[in-house]
Symmetry: C2
Subunit: 436 residues, 2 copies
């Protein structure tokens, strides 16, 4: 049977132009993390499924995970997210490691998704986390890092917002104000999570299923209508919830003098993963009407190590997928053109007897860090320039016999300047490349 | 049930020091490939199993592959090698792409190995291939690239050899000289492949099982004793095999004037994957007595696209694993120390009221590409230097109030030089970092 030429469903082939794009995104990810003094880590592609059962939600395990039994009868899964691996690794070293621990990774992950725009089965995710930072300072650093990252592509506050909430606020509203039991709280969390995706009638209906008391329902509607930190603080004061939210109120005060405040928007509907986050939660939201969606999300969590029976360790982090990032950058025309490679120099021979000389010169140029393509085989003189331009070369060399000596004719295809070099003098070529 | 803190069997956790090492190896891989004008690609983690059944050997499918049935009833496998994916991708584009096609990748691969030195279940493999190059020129370029790559770490010809053979030579010996049928050829290939791993008595015994005729057995022993290209050519002449091996003889002539000849050793026992290679075959062999093993292998192949019913396309390539590379570099003490990160600068506050000023200054320094750690929270003055040195910092700043102004005290911990900067003048700090 002839195998298919297509990639496996929901997965991508990265041909060179796509791979250059991906490499560029990853380079910016690494660069930003290192600028903030975060250290790289990675874990295995497979983990035993007990790790995910201990941590992740039911939906992930039941519907979305690639799991199977290995030949040694272990139940394993391809990592669908990095956090469980991160938790396992941090549990190994946190006791003997100075705090804060600042880590980042760019793992490939697999989920059994129905492929659609922004969703694929295999994607890469930029994960950045800080552990053991003093109250609010890890939060500020992580948010600053995201803004620096997106700004490094040229994104501005006109293009994205950080929608932010705090789980302690939500918990205060649910428990102290609405006096919901656990089951109702859980239901209302689900309602909030869908608030922006449904009509206001539908939303009302869903709320009424959880809150029957009209006064409380009104209070909840007022909560849902909050759109900035000042009104939130007034709301918390009015309803005597400030004691629950001291850290968050301090956070809103601290950010006032920082640039990041311009990117932050209070959003009461942001709650994120229920069993995981315990402090601030946030989503990076694309403001463009054509791509109105979250491109990343994260928050603060206290109980990451609980599944290993370790003491709580305060953590803040986010995950940002390569597909949603690319969609965002393309929507705002922030992504350059990676169609052609960007090598420095190509060497051609019009006579195959000079091929070995080309190899030798190429070796010398590479020693000098010049990305050099040696054209293999001879080529007709009148075909050289078109061949070179098709590959995106701006400067080339043609090896030829001149007065009995092997010489290199140098051509600048953009500025139409010529030069020449002796085959034994690669520095002449480096100088030519550095000009203009 | 508490999940284990260990990684899945045969897989590795990459804590920051190990990840920095891996990043360094991958950076060198990318750099070398780009210096030779090779373009990056990648494919999916999973492929449908028909792709591997069409291409790979029985052993791989039966014993070593991670395969399972997905929720859509597709039989899939985690890629155990990159070549089938490469073949699939090249089959998609080769007709409309200028030759030669030069591609490289560094995929993670999984095989169900019994973990031991140099063998793990998940590893990364540097794959470099060229397609559609004129006869022998792709071979020379690929071999030059490998040598450049290993030399970039400081490896010399005292440390490694390239053991090289040609499948056309082996086929000539087997078919024309020994007159073996297909079945016996196959058996003798397996014998050759084990030649270096068994005693000479055992080898004799294995050979006798395939070749019964004493004269032919003697000829085969003579073949096995060849150790250089000159003797090989004489052997081919003596036994009238030169016609089979014209291209390879031309190859041995071409390399004579190139540096790569110093690294090449003729080795009659190198045969590699039976159904795949059709021309030269080679292994990079570590010469160190403590690590006497192959660290990479490759060769020339004509029929990569056959499984897609496409016309033959000449290819040459190699694969080099991250584990064997690291073993090689460590054995020869060519790997630096990646224990500590190499960030540029750390900023400390002795009074937490300056924390926001530290965030602001950090942001400015990062705009200037300075990898800056902001110490979070206040720290006692007498603890700063030890904290900084533990993390490998050579230069630090301490934010403090001086005459009512916030100032930065700069310290060079190596040269014991001090300086100071105004908080509004990050350029002063950049200058301080660029000194000494």
């Amino acid at each position: 049977m002839t195998p298919t030429k297509k990639p496996y469903k929901g997965c991508r082939d990265f041909f060179p132009d796509e791979m250059r794009t991906r490499d560029f995104l990853f380079t910016q990810m690494r660069k930003t993390a290192e600028l903030f003094a975060y250290e790289p880590y990675d874990g295995p592609l497979l983990e035993e499924i007990t790790l995910y059962k201990a941590k992740s939600g039911e939906e992930l395990i039941n519907d979305q995970i690639y799991s199977f039994t290995d030949r040694g009868n272990r139940e394993v899964a391809i990592r669908p997210e990095m956090t469980p691996t991160l938790a396992r690794m941090v549990a190994n070293i946190h006791k003997q490691t100075a705090k804060p621990i600042r880590w980042y990774a760019i793992p490939n992950l697999m989920r059994y998704e129905k492929p659609q725009r922004g969703r694929v089965r295999e994607h890469w995710q930029y994960n950045v986390d800080i552990f053991g930072a003093p109250v609010n300072l890890g939060e500020i650093e992580i948010l600053s890092l995201i803004i620096h990252f997106l700004s490094s592509f040229g994104a501005t506050q006109e293009m994205f917002s950080i929608l932010l909430n705090d789980r302690r606020v939500v918990d205060g509203v649910f428990n102290k104000l609405l006096k919901l039991d656990n089951e109702s709280s859980y239901k209302l969390y689900k309602v909030i999570d869908k608030a922006k995706k449904v009509s206001s009638e539908k939303l009302n209906e869903m709320i009424s299923e959880v809150i029957t008391d009209e006064i409380r329902k009104n209070i909840f509607h007022k909560y849902l209508q909050l759109t900035n930190f000042e009104d939130l603080i007034l709301f918390l004061e009015e309803h005597d919830l400030k004691d629950n939210c001291q850290d968050f109120i301090q956070f809103t005060n601290m950010i006032k003098s920082l640039d990041l405040v311009d990117y932050l928007v209070y959003d009461p509907t942001i709650v994120r993963g229920l069993d995981y986050y315990t402090g601030i939660v946030f989503e990076i939201f694309d403001k463009h009407p054509d791509n109105n969606r979250a491109i990343a999300g994260g928050g603060a969590y206290a109980n990451l190590l609980q599944i290993f029976n370790e003491n709580p360790l305060a953590g803040v982090g986010f995950g940002l997928g390569d597909v949603t990032l690319k969609d965002f950058l393309e929507t705002h025309q922030l992504l350059g053109n990676f169609e052609k490679p960007s090598f420095d120099f190509a060497l051609y021979c019009t006579d195959e007897s000079n091929q070995l000389a080309a190899f030798e010169l190429g070796a010398k140029l590479r020693e000098l860090n010049i990305k050099t393509e040696i054209h293999l085989g001879q080529i007709k003189f009148n075909k050289i320039i078109k061949t070179a331009e098709n590959k995106g070369y701006k400067k080339i060399g043609i090896i030829e016999l001149k007065d009995g000596n092997i010489q290199v004719q140098l051509k600048d295809l953009v500025n139409r300047v010529n030069g020449d070099a002796q085959i034994t003098k690669p520095e002449t070529i480096v100088n030519f490349l550095n000009q203009g």
